[in-house]
Amino acid sequence: MPSVLRLEEVTKVYPGPPEVTALVDIDLAIAPGELLAVMGPSGSGKSTLLNVMGALDRVTRGTVEIDAADIATLSDRELSGLRSHKIGFVFQDFFLIEGLDATANVAEGLVYRGMRRRERRDRAVAALERVGLGRRLTHRPNQLSGGERQRVAIARALVGEPSIVFADEPTGNLDSQTSEEIAHLFTSLNAEGATMVVITHEHDLAARFPRIVELQDGRVVGDRVR
């Protein structure tokens, strides 16, 4: 089966001074339907890896392929197109728009698809139901709990039916009970077919996922499948 995402000898160096080598010769392939954790202490290069995998940043050396497309050959505009259609992001700080209700926030994930407002809303409602927020459709972010906000953010990442979803420390701002629920949500979304990569430094969270990639000093030091 072809990979959704394939990294081959990826190296990322931030130009200095001082020059910082964030990733060294990373090889990684993610198949459709996988749920994996990328784990490592802070400073290990997790966020850089996320940016590279999510086509938010370019690599210094090596190849990144998303759905068999080498992103080095794509223009900035084409990369934007790729992000709008094939990639979903979940951020630690949620990054929801305060003035909009949950449905509109999720629908915002489809704005750059050129989709009609009506269709965006219909899909947003479906996505919110999928993450268990069917009864919070018209609540604004400040009327929602941290866990609910993160669910809205997850719905926004999923609403465009992307090939892969990246979550950057999705439970970093949540208490353990809520973290547990979010982890459970990831597992069940994955069971429905979503391909997900969760970046975290929490062992407990990582341990719940079928595959764990360990990162240290910019190198992959472990890749275990349970």
């Binding site: 940016n51 940043d57 505009r77 197109g81 992000r83 630690q92 915002e108 750059y112 698809r113 050129g114």
Partner: protein
């Protein structure tokens, strides 16, 4: 597989961007509104004023020459021939001519008032066609005609009437002219171009001749000529009306005063429009400033939008549109304010209201252009923010 942003969504993004910080948007738009209001009201007020001025000029005509052949106010110049008017009429392009002659008499309310208290009112002998030639009218009563020119009848200029305390002709008021009672048969409307007539008492030549030995030698000639040859007429007229001393002849064009006022108005208008433009420019700089600040504050939003699939162009257009929207709102508000000022001013001054639509279109266009220019740099900066950096914790 391309990113697309619908026009309607762009509109929504812009509005939402401004609505997120309403006080800031309002304050910034006020700057634009003030500039635009200044320009629109200046254009409106001057257009209204000019409309009145042009109407006045059209009514009075600009082809009337005022000729004073006697040389000087004291009338000490050489004797002007009595045929001066007839000679002037013989000049080709001259359409008509009339005249007045200073009468050696004073006018008083009655015989009990001292001879020296004339109130600055001159007594002039006038031909019956004078009023029509000057484009004037009577407020009440009537002007001199061939019959009333022969009897002790007088028509008062508007200022003279006020000074003599005569406001209407009922009961038949009389005034005292050096030993003879004259009946007031008419009071004139104001004659804006002829203050000397406004300040005079007019009687007929025949009665002036009989009572005060006034000759037909004119102290002022009024010559109406074909507009195309007006300058030529002005050039030959001195030698025609006073061959002995043409240098003593003074030829003026009363409408020049109005024209000068119009030119001065225009200069002032241009100056004020310039000030409005400066205000607009300052407002534009303020918008640019606010937008740059907004871009800095909204790095995360920009990053999230890029992550959601926005292209650089989408980000650029979003901020540019916000800037244009801001100035557009200011422009519309300013136009309404300027129009309101114009309406109030015109109503207050009794002017014909004229808000030129081109002026309004121009100022709204100017506001939009200012907004677009002000937004260029901030939008460019916003689009250049790398998405990975913008979403960094």
């Amino acid at each position: 597989m391309r990113s697309r942003l619908r026009l309607g969504d762009l509109f929504g993004l812009g509005l939402r961007g401004l609505a997120a910080r309403p006080a800031r948007a309002l304050l910034t738009a006020i700057g634009i509104a003030i500039g635009i209001a200044a320009i629109v009201s200046v254009i409106g007020i001057s257009a209204s004023g000019r409309a009145d001025l042009i109407a006045t000029l059209d009514r009075l005509g600009t082809n009337l020459l005022r000729v004073t052949p006697g040389g000087g106010v004291l009338g000490t110049g050489s004797e002007v021939p009595e045929e001066a008017r007839v000679m002037a009429e013989r000049i080709g392009p001259v359409q008509s001519a009339t005249q007045t002659t200073q009468v050696e008499a004073s006018v008083r309310r009655n015989d009990l008032i001292g001879e020296l208290e004339t109130g600055g009112i001159a007594v002039l002998a006038a031909r019956p066609d004078l009023l029509d030639e000057l484009g004037g009218g009577v407020r009440t009563g009537r002007f001199l005609d061939n019959a009333t020119s022969r009897v002790p009848a007088v028509v008062l200029g508007s200022v003279s009437a006020r000074r003599l305390g005569i406001t209407d002709l009922d009961p038949r008021p009389r005034v005292f002219l050096d030993g003879t009672w004259f009946t007031v048969i008419g009071i004139l409307d104001p004659l804006e171009l002829h203050p000397d007539i406004e300040r005079s008492a007019l009687i007929g030549y025949p009665v002036a001749d009989v009572l005060f030995a006034t000759t037909e030698s004119p102290s002022t000639l009024y010559v109406r000529a074909s507009p195309d040859f007006l300058n030529d007429v002005a050039e030959v007229i001195p030698a025609t009306v006073n061959p002995q001393s043409p240098d003593a002849v003074d030829v003026t064009r009363p409408s020049d005063a109005l024209q000068a006022r119009r030119a001065a108005d225009e200069a002032l208008t241009n100056l004020l429009i310039g000030l409005g433009a400066v205000a607009l420019l300052v407002a534009g700089v303020a918008i640019a400033n606010i937008m740059v600040m907004s871009v800095l504050e909204r790095r995360t939003e920009i990053g999230v939008r890029r992550a959601l699939g926005a292209t650089r162009r989408h980000i650029r257009v979003q901020f540019l549109f916000e800037s244009v929207l801001l100035s557009g709102i200011g422009g519309v508000a300013g136009t309404l304010l300027g129009a309101a000022i114009t309406v109030a001013y015109a109503a207050n001054r009794d002017l014909t209201l004229a808000v030129p639509p081109q002026g309004v279109a121009f100022s709204i266009g100017a506001a939009l252009v200012v907004g677009a220019l002000a937004g260029l740099y901030p939008a460019w900066r916003a689009a250049r923010i790398p998405p990975a950096e913008a979403v960094r914790k």
